[in-house]
């Protein structure tokens, strides 16, 4: 006796699961409170913190394509760099006064240009194995790097783009030497984009991405427009990386070919995997811990910090599954077991 107006128990349960997924957990709220608290906790490290927020945003964009849609990418640095140059050029030609150099508009310019190029190149990653996609995305990034180097008249070539002078954020807050505005600005942008990404991956669209990642053939068989979904998420991710690049160009007030270089893409992926892919927070945690370690080690031993970073990476892979988030999970589980036993 099925009733049309009241859904079946199965549907109710599915509904509960889906809605439950989008509720904010305690840990999440603590995470963001801590992020804000950093402003007072580490007032001397604000530049590093805004850099971490920006890196976290790149890692987040990699997570969208890699962690959720399963596309292995080593080319997110290209979109980061494109965003940086687009926003940097806008700010430069706005001369710090006109609307062009408004930082928020710059974010849209950076993200927009990156998204257009992301959309155009997204068709290249629809086919092939992990390795093929890895190399195609890397190839695109390397070509962008060469283009930046070659177009000296526009980008300044190897010497970088100088004279990037963004005006005050929303016309009120000038970027200051202490990095206060830069940090708050970066964190707000990161948070806004994070909330959007969070809603995105928990929407039917996000679930369909995970289905594609799980089994592309089967997903296609149930009538899902797989290619369209992949193109969409790749474009969104390019937008995210572009915004991160724009943030970087605005907060550091220049752009250099280093922003497009291979190691940007590699770092972004490393941080994500380090933190744990497919949870949104993995990239954020990864960039926090990775960058902090790099900074602390670099202060102790400016020459050999890479050694200890390497040891940490190796140890993490050997002894933990799923990056830092995996480690936290294990610890939590162990703690619960203990608590249950006593």
């Amino acid at each position: 006796m099925s009733n049309i107006t009241s859904p079946s128990p199965e549907a109710m349960r599915a509904r509960a699961v889906l809605l439950g997924r989008s509720r904010w957990g305690v840990a999440e709220i603590i995470f963001w409170i801590l992020a804000v608290a950093c402003y007072w906790l580490f007032p001397t490290k604000l530049s590093l913190l805004s850099e971490i927020a920006i890196l976290g945003l790149v890692a987040l964009s990699v997570d969208l394509v890699l962690g959720y849609a399963g596309i292995v990418t080593l080319g997110q640095g290209a979109f980061f760099g494109i965003g940086a140059y687009a926003a940097g050029l806008a700010a430069k030609f706005g001369m710090g006064t006109s609307l062009w150099s408004d930082p928020v508009i710059g974010l849209f310019i950076g993200g927009g240009v990156a998204a257009v190029i992301g959309f155009a190149t997204s068709f290249l990653v629809l086919r092939g194995s992990d390795m093929t996609r890895l190399m195609v995305t890397l190839g695109v990034a390397l070509i962008v790097d060469e283009v930046v180097n070659q177009m000296k008249w526009l980008t300044g070539g190897s010497d970088g783009l100088q004279g990037v002078l963004p005006s005050a954020v929303l016309g009120i807050w000038e970027f200051d030497l202490f990095g206060r505005v830069a940090f708050v600005y970066s964190l707000v942008v990161l948070f806004v984009l994070f909330v959007i990404a969070r809603a995105l991956v928990k929407s039917p669209f996000g679930l369909s991405l995970q289905a594609i990642k799980g089994n592309m053939l089967r997903t296609r068989a149930i009538g899902m427009p797989v290619n369209a979904r992949l193109v969409a998420v790749y474009t969104v991710a390019a937008f995210y990386a572009g915004v991160a690049g724009a943030l970087a160009a605005q907060t550091t007030q220049f752009a250099s070919p280093d922003y497009v270089a291979f190691h940007r893409s590699a770092d972004a992926m490393l941080m994500l995997v380090f933190g744990g892919a497919g949870h949104l927070y993995g990239g954020l945690l990864g960039s926090i811990i990775f960058r902090t370690m790099q900074d602390v080690l670099g202060n102790i031993t400016p020459q050999y910090w890479q050694f200890w970073l390497g040891v940490t990476l190796v140890a993490l892979v050997l002894f933990v599954r799923g990056g830092i988030l995996g480690l936290l999970d294990n610890m939590l589980a162990a703690w619960r077991r203990k608590g249950g036993a006593s």
Binding site: G128, M131, L134, G139, I143, Q150, Q303, G310, V317
Partner: protein, 286 residues
């Protein structure tokens, strides 16, 4: 022009030797070992040390570099790598990058950050004329050794008992084990040979390129390009791909310097779009 062609082939051959070990680990064992350049660096630095400090002849350094890198590979395989065969590709990437960082810092500590070079023996330097083109002796030497290697590797894989066991172990490890094949040992030996080849490539490379601690990172991209354009199912694929890339790179920089830098990358992207499994791969086996 013949000179340019031969320069390009020699450069490609060098890339091939450096990368072929990666082809073995990636293609046959399905393991993404980004630390491959570390083994090449080990071979290169061993050659530099032996020649500069101990005065060992260059030709003796080549086998020494092979053995040293292979031994290093074997030790690392037994202690670390074997724990990662069943982990995800991403874990393998993280792990091998970690190894790269460690090796960079260690070499830096031992040798400093300078570029290191060796001076080749007189009989390997110099040039001779051939069909009107001027050709470097060392480049011919590199070409000859690589040619020899390709043939022997191909034969070893297809004709020997070890080769067929290896392919069986890769295709289905469990069944191979059931048939009495010692899969663990085969993998260890294969890994060691792959590393040894990288070491040999590093030793040969000392004659053309210079070594500094960032070597494994600097050349990682080149290795990956060769492997992905050539495909990983054969030895000849990467071989032809390496030559193609070497020639395209050298000729591109010679004839159209303005776009020379793009050529390798563009070829790679185009190839991978048209043939995702690589230019010379057999139709997907699995």
């Amino acid at each position: 022009m013949l000179t340019i062609l031969l320069d390009g082939i020699a450069y490609g051959m060098l890339l091939f030797i450096l990368a072929v070990g990666l082809c073995v680990t990636l293609g046959l064992m399905n393991f993404i070992n980004l630390a491959h350049g570390t083994f090449a660096m080990a071979g290169g630095y061993l050659t530099i040390t032996l020649m500069q400090k101990a005065g060992v002849p260059f030709l003796l350094c080549l086998p020494a570099a092979f053995i040293f890198a292979a031994a290093l590979g074997l030790v690392l395989e037994r202690t670390l790598y074997r724990h990662l065969y069943d982990k995800t590709h991403l874990d393998q990437v993280l792990f091998s990058i970690g190894l790269v960082f460690i090796s960079i810092a260690m070499v830096d500590y031992a040798y400093g950050a300078n570029q290191q070079i060796v001076n080749l023996p007189d009989y390997l330097t110099g040039r001779f004329s051939f069909l009107g083109a001027s050709i470097g002796v060392y480049r011919v030497f590199v070409i000859a050794i690589c040619g020899l290697l390709v043939v022997s590797l191909q034969l070893a894989l297809t004709m020997t008992r070890f080769g067929s066991r290896l392919r069986a172990a890769v295709d289905d490890g469990r069944v191979a084990r059931g048939m009495g094949i010692d899969v663990t040992r085969i993998f260890a030996v294969t890994f060691a040979v792959g590393s040894g080849l990288a070491g040999l490539g590093g030793a040969l490379g000392t004659g053309i390129i210079s070594f500094d601690p960032t070597f494994p990172l600097k050349y990682m991209i080149y290795f990956l390009i060769v492997i992905s354009v050539g495909g990983t199912t054969t030895i000849t694929g990467p071989f032809l791909a390496a030559i193609l890339l070497g020639v395209a790179d050298v000729a591109g920089k010679y004839y159209v310097p303005a776009v020379g830098g793009f050529i390798i990358y563009t070829i790679m992207v185009v190839v991978l779009i048209v043939r995702p499994q690589g230019l010379f791969a057999r139709a997907a086996a699995k």
